[in-house]
């Protein structure tokens, strides 16, 4: 790989570097690019959340900083960075500091295997689906350790709730992904997207409809978002696991929560909504090629971004619509409703595949 450009000097410089250094530079560049984009997305997601929920509740939302309030996230970030980080005197200092990092790293590292556009993911690994499952299951450590290290009863209660909830919903998510794996016939996320090639009705959401619903709702529960946000239920346990956090440390938790939302939206888009496939693939005639409308037909990162944006909107929509679940109902939904439904659907899918009915006949 070499950077595209016509400057002969830069090209010579690039070729003069040793092979290892070039690979390293490309990798670090890709990692930085994804991280910066995610963090910018998180910043504007917080703005859009306040704006969208504001309009849903017949308010205006933030509109003071910058044109239409667009610079509000930067004001928030500067405020959080300048605040003092308070470490409670009886907290476990080391774990207290490291916990926010443990929650942000998996949320960012999972992006390595997400297929961004046809034929490209940062790390094209064969066991991509397993990698996703393994990394998303690590995010809970940040929450648990934050709750324990704070040495505060509300924080510990929040951490306990969150641990039990995440373990419960992870199983349902895993089973839902088993269904996707059966339908796509591969653990590689890029191949899964290719298996869904075609328009809206050839994506997996239709044959795997129950699994899609369960995956997305479990994703909402896994990210501790409303209506499953009992881990930080303000009315009962103040702010849950991050009650003792302030300043930058709190900002990192905040970042992790929103990065996880974006990740779940991206994974739902990749597994069930055809990833970078076009919504109208195979429907629009090819005469549009060469015009800007070509983008409507062509697969690409813009479609993935559009789908992610749609699912993120759903996250915000849920938050503005549903009251918070009672805790025992959350556990009941996870263990006694979602897991049995996924298992039944896997059996149905297996039977259909064996009898060669539907899209699994391959």
């Amino acid at each position: 790989m070499k950077p595209v450009g016509s400057l002969p000097f830069l090209e010579d410089l690039w070729l003069a570097l040793p092979e290892l250094a070039r690979t390293l530079l490309v990798m670090v560049g890709q990692i930085l690019a994804v991280t910066v984009v995610i963090i910018l997305c998180v910043a504007f997601l917080t703005y859009l959340e306040r704006k969208i929920i504001g309009y849903m509740q017949n308010r205006i939302g933030p509109n003071r900083v910058g044109p239409g309030g667009w610079l509000q996230p930067f004001a928030d970030v500067i405020k959080l960075l300048l605040k003092e980080v308070v470490v409670p005197s009886s907290a476990n200092r080391f774990l207290f500091i490291i916990a926010p990092l443990l929650s942000i790293v998996p949320a960012l590292a999972t992006w390595a295997v997400i297929p961004l556009f046809p034929g490209f993911a940062i790390a094209e690994i064969d066991a991509g689906l397993l990698y996703v499952l393994a990394l998303t299951s690590l995010g809970v450590y940040g929450v648990i350790l934050a709750g324990w290290a704070s040495n505060s009863k509300y924080a510990l209660l929040g951490a306990m709730r969150s641990a039990a909830q995440i373990v419960a919903y992870e199983i349902a998510m895993g089973f839902a992904l088993v269904g996707v794996l059966m339908a796509g016939g591969s653990l590689n996320l890029g191949k899964l997207v290719e298996a869904q090639s075609g328009g809206l009705f050839s994506w997996f959401w239709l044959p795997l409809f129950p699994l899609f619903i369960i995956y997305f709702v479990s994703g909402v529960a896994e990210t501790n978002r409303a209506p499953f946000d009992v881990a930080e239920g303000e009315s009962e346990i103040v702010a849950g696991f991050h009650v003792e956090y302030s300043g930058v440390a709190f900002a990192v938790f905040f970042l992790a929560e929103y990065a996880n939302m974006i990740l779940i939206a991206a994974l739902t888009a990749v597994m069930f909504w055809g990833g970078w496939e076009s919504l109208f693939a195979g429907w629009l005639f090819s005469g549009l090629d060469g015009t800007p409308l070509e983008l409507l037909r062509a697969p690409g990162i813009h479609w993935l971004a559009f789908k992610i944006a749609f699912f993120l909107f759903c996250f915000l929509w849920f938050r503005a619509t549903f009251p918070r679940y009672r805790y025992d109902q959350i556990m009941r939904l996870g263990w006694k409703v979602f897991i049995p439904v996924t298992i039944v659907w896997i059996v149905v899918e297996g039977a259909m595949a064996a009898l060669r009915i539907g899209p699994w006949s391959a």
Partner: protein
């Protein structure tokens, strides 16, 4: 070269973490050391290109088992002084168990490895080889029966654990969820139409 360096660095971390599990005072730290040990051994497996085993180790042990471990350990109020009381009494038994383990390990490493291809370097497969697929094929054909047997045993253990710990106390108040879900607005709210009262 780089792989060798990684191997030694990770092995050092793994050994340190494993020693940490049994030496640190705080049980939460012990659990965290165990997590570190799991993660480093997963990376060691990755170096051997056994990506399925590595990911599953992280997924099952770090992602699920250790979360529950931590969950329990955090809620325990462990007094280390009472734990150390019987140290001398249990020391001989512990020494015997440790000696047996060392003997077994020595046997495996020095005698059993004669016939194993340990001396020859492992041959790396080409990029198209998927250890996940290969493992699945072997597991569902050659070892299908032991595999199913192990699954049954695990299911049995789950059911047994639930049965052993579930006691129904008399007079316990529990919510009947089916009853709660069945409730309609008409059961709870009575809408009254009445003439607006004027002063």
């Amino acid at each position: 070269m780089f792989a060798t360096f990684l191997f030694y660095a990770l092995s050092t971390v793994l050994l340190a973490a494993a020693v940490g599990v049994i030496t640190v005072r705080n049980p939460v730290y012990a659990a965290l050391c165990l997590i570190l040990a799991f993660v480093t051994s997963a990376v060691l497996w990755l170096l051997l290109e056994a990506e399925f085993l590595a990911v599953v180790l992280v997924l099952v042990y770090v992602g699920a088992v250790m979360v529950l471990f931590l969950f329990v350990v955090m809620m325990l109020d462990i007094n280390t002084a009472t734990l150390r009381e019987g140290f001398l009494r249990y020391a001989p038994v512990g020494a015997i168990v440790a000696g047996l383990l060392v003997l077994e390990l020595a046997y495996v490493i020095w005698f059993r490895s004669e016939g194993l291809p340990g001396g020859t370097p492992l041959v790396p497969r080409d990029a198209a080889y998927s250890s996940t697929e290969e493992l699945g094929r072997v597991l569902y054909t050659q070892y299908l029966y032991p595999f199913e047997l192990a699954a049954m045993l695990l299911l049995l253990a789950i059911v047994a654990a639930i049965l052993l710990t579930m006691r129904s106390r008399p007079g316990l108040k529990v919510q009947d969820v089916a009853e709660q879900v069945k409730v309609r607005r008409e059961d709870r709210v009575r809408i009254v139409t009445m003439k607006p009262e004027s002063e």
